[in-house]
């Protein structure tokens, strides 16, 4: 058996995901303790740019399975193509980012490699020659440490949790082909519908401004949108509590919490949100939390770094103006 650490990288429309670079960093860290080479394997079509970027990411080797067969994502197809390359490497560990694709693909790869998988990990461990990880469970209300009893050890790595490496180095790059044709793909993506342009994806935004029932009416969400916009283009996303999603004010894709999205931005601003335990589950790992609520006893203040006890209808417009002024200055 080799002691390679494999990273399954993700490119969408040929563009490498930042979370994949973070995963390469995590793999480097693991390699510095466990030894071995970091080998990145990725599947898709038109991967030259992604490969070039990965080449200087700190990886030792990059294997690109670049084929028209893999132009569109297929869980079974990508799994098969990747496993064809990964299995002969007999790696000690296989890592992928915990993205929409990682969540769909990594468990399937784990099943094919007949091994375990620690999902959504925030730290990796090497102890007495065994590999393991720490991961949030119960929606972040607790952390679990798991150690692997089978090889390879597999994990999906939580995005925004490992720093991207320095970006020097030159990996050896090779290309490969899948052993099968397009007829053998089963589930296949036929269309990708982008959300309205100019919007940052909720889970990738540096700043999230969320609104809850305290806004009283769906139209008042424009106060939340204006504050988000005040931070400048492409920086802040709008989120929502379940109460307002269930009321039909906001689409489900904006829901933050245990049954919505888990976000970990640098700044999270909760406006008129009480801070129910299921909401906290989705945002409590944000680096800096601001809460605006008229009830001084609202549980959201327990996790807030900064809280204003006040009326959103007074505080939000003033805050938007002040942020605009500060951004301009």
């Amino acid at each position: 058996m080799s002691n390679h650490i494999v990273v399954l990288a993700e490119a969408r429309e040929g563009a490498l995901k930042k979370a994949s670079l973070e995963t390469v960093s995590a793999a480097r860290e693991l390699a510095s303790q466990a030894g071995g080479q970091v080998v990145v394997v990725l599947a898709g079509k038109g991967l030259d740019n992604a490969v070039a970027e990965l080449g200087k990411s700190g990886a030792d080797r990059v294997i690109a399975i670049d084929s028209p067969v893999l132009e569109h994502y297929s869980g079974d197809g990508y799994c098969r193509a990747l496993v064809e390359q990964v299995k002969p490497l007999t790696p000690t560990a296989v890592l992928m980012a915990h993205t929409a694709m990682g969540k769909d693909l990594a468990p399937r790869v784990a099943a094919a490699l007949e091994t375990g998988l620690a999902s959504d990990v925030t730290a990796l461990h090497v102890e007495d020659g065994k590999l393991g990880a720490t991961r949030p469970v119960f929606a972040g209300k607790a952390y679990q440490k798991v150690m692997a009893d089978r090889t390879p050890f597999m994990a999906t790595v939580r995005p925004n949790n490992f720093e991207v490496g320095s970006g020097d180095g030159a990996a050896e790059t090779t290309t490969a082909q899948p052993s099968f044709g397009p007829d053998e793909l089963k589930a296949l993506v036929t269309e990708v519908v982008a959300s309205a342009s100019g919007r940052v994806p909720l889970q990738e935004a540096q700043i999230v401004v969320s609104g809850g029932r305290g806004l009283k009416e769906p139209e008042h969400f424009k106060l939340v949108e204006e504050l988000a916009a005040a931070f400048g283009e492409g920086r802040a996303a709008v989120g929502a509590s379940r109460a307002v999603v269930d009321a039909g004010w906001r689409p489900h894709r904006e829901q933050v919490g245990q049954t919505g999205k888990v976000v970990a931005p640098t700044l999270y601003i909760a406006c008129g949100i009480s801070g129910a335990i299921q909401h906290l589950a989705g945002m409590r790992t944000a680096r800096y939390i601001v809460a605006i609520n008229k009830d001084p006893e609202a549980p959201i203040f327990k996790v807030a770094n900064y809280g204003i006890v006040g009326d959103v209808f007074e505080v939000l417009p003033a805050l938007t103006d002040a942020v605009k002024a500060a951004s301009a200055g």
């Binding site: 468990p107 119960f138 679990q144 036929t190 939390i289 900064y306």
Partner: protein, 249 residues
């Protein structure tokens, strides 16, 4: 169509987590257990599919004897049959759970499998793609919209910054996300009927987990925040804090 729906008994989402004396698991004292919220969407979708296409719905779980309660909930919603695969002493992970569920599924007629997006205890989100791989079937995860077109599903799933439309031929494994449907409540009649429906108990296939939990701990408390009364001064001070402490301006 013979439809299998995989369900799990989990702590309710408002549970305050306490670590048990073993240091690796949840202290169950005072905890309310429920059907995993995402599995309600899976049961609903299975029932809707049966209503449209005919066939049977079988709910299966790998869990403790108490999980009979959650299986009865599925039967009361309208499932035809339920199977409790007894966990025994092992603490299963994503690997062994899928192996054991598939060993059971293979003993049943099965044309379609529904799972939830994730079980809200371990938050693994692994079972559906693993079950699909072991059955040699395709899979779509986190589905928010699903329609049968001929012999294939057209499924929608959220991805970063948008939505994917996936064409997936049957047989398949589908994992259900919030938004897919509105789970029905069990009617009084359904609850009465559930008492007479078959609920079988079987031993789990002998598969050991691939990972061991060595510790469970609570997250570090967040530092005490500054809470101030509203007003224009508060806003100016907050913007300073956003600039100097959060460092995003």
């Amino acid at each position: 169509m013979d439809i299998i729906v995989c369900v799990k008994r989990v702590p309710a989402t408002d549970t305050q987590v306490k670590v048990a004396p073993d240091g690796t698991s949840l202290d169950p004292a005072g905890v309310e257990f429920v059907l995993n919220p995402y599995d309600e969407f899976a049961v609903e979708e299975a029932l809707k599919t049966r209503e449209a296409k005919g066939g049977t719905v079988t709910a299966i779980t790998l869990g403790p004897a108490e999980a009979q309660k959650e299986l009865r909930t599925c039967l009361a919603m309208g499932a035809d049959k339920a199977i409790l695969i007894k966990t025994g002493d092992r603490v299963h992970d994503g690997y062994s759970t899928a192996e054991i569920l598939v060993a059971q599924i293979k003993q049943l007629p099965h044309d379609l499998v529904f799972c939830g997006r994730q079980a809200v205890d371990g938050d693994n989100s692994q079972a559906a793609p693993r079950i699909a791989a072991l059955l040699g079937w395709p899979c779509v995860t986190d589905v928010t919209e699903l329609a049968l077109e001929g012999d294939a599903y057209v499924a929608h799933r959220d991805i970063e910054g948008g939505r994917e439309v996936v064409r997936c031929p049957l047989p398949a494994v589908i994992s259900t996300n919030k938004g897919l449907n509105e789970p029905r409540y069990a009617s009084l009649k359904g609850i009465m009927a559930a008492k007479k429906k078959p609920l079988e108990e079987v031993e789990a296939a002998d598969v050991a987990p691939a990972t061991a939990v060595v510790s469970l701990s609570l997250p570090p408390a967040r530092p005490e925040g500054r809470i101030v009364e509203g007003g224009a001064d508060a806003v100016a001070a907050l913007v300073d804090a956003i600039k100097n402490e959060a460092k995003v301006l």
